[in-house]
Symmetry: C2
Subunit: 255 residues, 2 copies
């Protein structure tokens, strides 16, 4: 079962590190903004600031793509926009289907960032017959029954899942069976897919939880963690009782 993992050992992609790939869209956005203001060139320092990273990192990232800058001057904005777009594969058209047209699906359908980056929403799909035919972002919602046909006919290779968690795996399976090989998953579930299919997930609540963690830390600094957290920390550090807090534990203890 859980087999077939063997996921890529990271750095697969033709030598470009994953961490770098993940930042390319950031640079691209900053560059696009510069381009719109007709700025002809940028230094690594300026671009780095605009993208929210540091300049050494940016230069190193670009070095994986090739030598696209000019020493003593900087980078040609338009040229770099093109090179990064090409590297990301945005110079081609990517038909995308969005499955699950609730609030989130509708938000995605309306999201301008897609269309402007080579992504074309080929269809919106929802399981609720009452939704069928409704126009969202100018497109008619289609029924799930048509999923396979839509994917095949439009040569869709990227699918976006914005359904409730319970429906996600089945939708995923059907998308994959129909030919989709990349999935962006907004449902809070771990999807299992065959080898060769990429899944990326965005979980809105995970980000909030990470923030809460740091927020809690900040509060703790001001008045001693125990008070702020409502629990004694592992008091005497990891010394004391390893078992854990004794007071308000949910009554369940590890045997």
């Amino acid at each position: 079962m859980a087999t077939g993992r063997t996921h890529r050992p990271a750095t697969r992609s033709r030598g470009i590190p994953e961490a770098t790939v993940a930042r390319l869209p950031l640079y691209l956005r900053a560059l696009t903004a510069l381009s719109e203001r007709s700025v002809p060139t940028v230094s690594s320092e300026e671009l780095a600031t605009a993208a929210g990273v540091n300049s050494a990192k940016l230069r190193k990232d670009f070095s994986y793509l090739g030598s696209y800058g000019t020493r003593g001057v900087g980078y040609d904005v338009e040229y770099l926009v093109y090179q990064i777009s090409r590297e990301l594969g945005l110079t081609q058209d990517w038909p995308v289907v969005i499955v699950g047209i609730g609030n989130l699906g509708a938000a995605l359908a309306n999201y301008g960032g897609f269309a402007s980056r080579g992504f074309r929403v080929a269809a919106l799909i929802d399981a609720d017959p009452a939704q069928t035919g409704k126009l969202v972002a100018g497109l008619p919602v289609r029924h799930t029954d048509e999923l396979e046909e839509i994917v095949e006919r439009n040569q869709v290779s990227i699918g976006v899942i914005a359904t409730p968690a319970g429906a996600a795996q089945e939708v995923c399976d059907r998308l994959v069976a129909a030919g989709v090989t990349s999935i962006l998953n907004f449902a809070p579930t771990v999807l299992s897919v065959p080898d060769g299919v990429d899944v990326r997930k965005v979980d809105l609540s995970i980000e909030l939880q990470i923030l809460a963690f740091h927020e809690q830390r900040k509060a703790g600094e001001d008045l001693g963690e125990a008070v702020a957290r409502g629990t004694l920390p592992k008091a005497a550090e990891e010394a004391a009782d390893r078992p854990g807090p004794d007071g308000d534990v949910p009554a369940v203890m590890p045997a």
Copy 2:
């Protein structure tokens, strides 16, 4: 130079690595599911599979929290749920405001994952007077004018920005001035904030771009990268025109 940076050198938080913190919500979700099915204990192997990571990583992660397992047996599900929740700060109530009630803001307001994890939507705020008073997810939309008052009165320390890019920085500044110290940003902009304020961003189109990158790679593997990418690697290097596929470079070349 971007002044006040000095951000924590990562591994700040009481010794727990950032990478581990980022995975705790994942474990928590898997554990919650097990808990609902009344599963009493799990092995690192099982839990790892459910969370989509490998078991060595999971055990290492848990080792930073303390020794909460039982050798030869595994982890007590309820106990672990509690420990992770506490570590993440989810045992306390976090009032949150969502600013920008468009499609995305509404989706967030309706998102169940928040409420069930200690997050309480204290208010929905939008700049459009026409929206004011409308009910979204059972809450009335308030006007931006009231932002400061709402934040202060509810002791909000976490703000979610779901406005258009153009409005994000101003909203951010006002939130911070009013006392917010953690921001979850959905607008496609880099926000600048004073030291001590955390920002996390979620950019929907970035994830798609990363998928496109990998998708492109897959296609390339089938027929030789040079052809698929439209460029020979840095073969002849920057030899002026190694240009594009069939010469469709944007005409701008680096000096």
